[in-house]
Symmetry: C2
Subunit: 143 residues, 2 copies
Amino acid sequence: MADVYIEDVQVGMALPQINKGPLQRIQLVRYAGASRDFNPIHVIEESAREAGLGGVIAHGMLTMAFVGQMLTDWAGVDRLRKFGVRFIAMVRPDDVISCKGTVVDRFVHDGDQLITCEVWAENARGERVAQGEAVLSLPSKRP
Amino acid sequence: MADVYIEDVQVGMALPQINKGPLQRIQLVRYAGASRDFNPIHVIEESAREAGLGGVIAHGMLTMAFVGQMLTDWAGVDRLRKFGVRFIAMVRPDDVISCKGTVVDRFVHDGDQLITCEVWAENARGERVAQGEAVLSLPSKRP
């Protein structure tokens, strides 16, 4: 992670993309343990089929975490002020997920230099699987 | 758990049995997270089949934990001095595991009142899946 300053950021700029995957089933097992979300549709093939999903699907929050990693890899974990996504499509084992974003606003609030980013995750077919918005507070080069 | 005193215990006596299961696949996922043993043969059907196991098998340490629970339910968690089992047969989802034991020795060491128990776990067909030995230190009614 390099230091990112508000002066380096312009509206319309793309955030550095990260790619995650191919997603492994065992990662879903690990994420179940880490998140304490033991819904069997994420880890037990049979249960996912019975639920009509055709097989296990990733936890939505894992996809969100990938998008979060893109933001914090770029700007640092202490910079994120607000972050939300909605889940659009299912993510499955073997999917490769690309996390992307664009700066859509830059503003000052209570003396903080802030940016709003549109962020999303897409699969290898270019379909968005999650999308949302993040607000980051960035340091300034000027004291 | 009732208090168990050395005076209540005779060689040849059976320990109170506990039954665990039917074993759920999701319990193996939970145990993977709790133990940090993410070997896919315990949680991913496909990997277990590829490994020639015909399907997922329980972590041996989970079976051992069941036997441990029989001991600590009976005598208390602070009473176990030594505990080992060897794994004999595979445990699979839907198995019901009965944990049993017998007191095989009673002795004094360094002023402690100790018992040795033969302990084992068996499936619903009466096949032993794990067996071993435990040493417990028990309190005396005499001051």
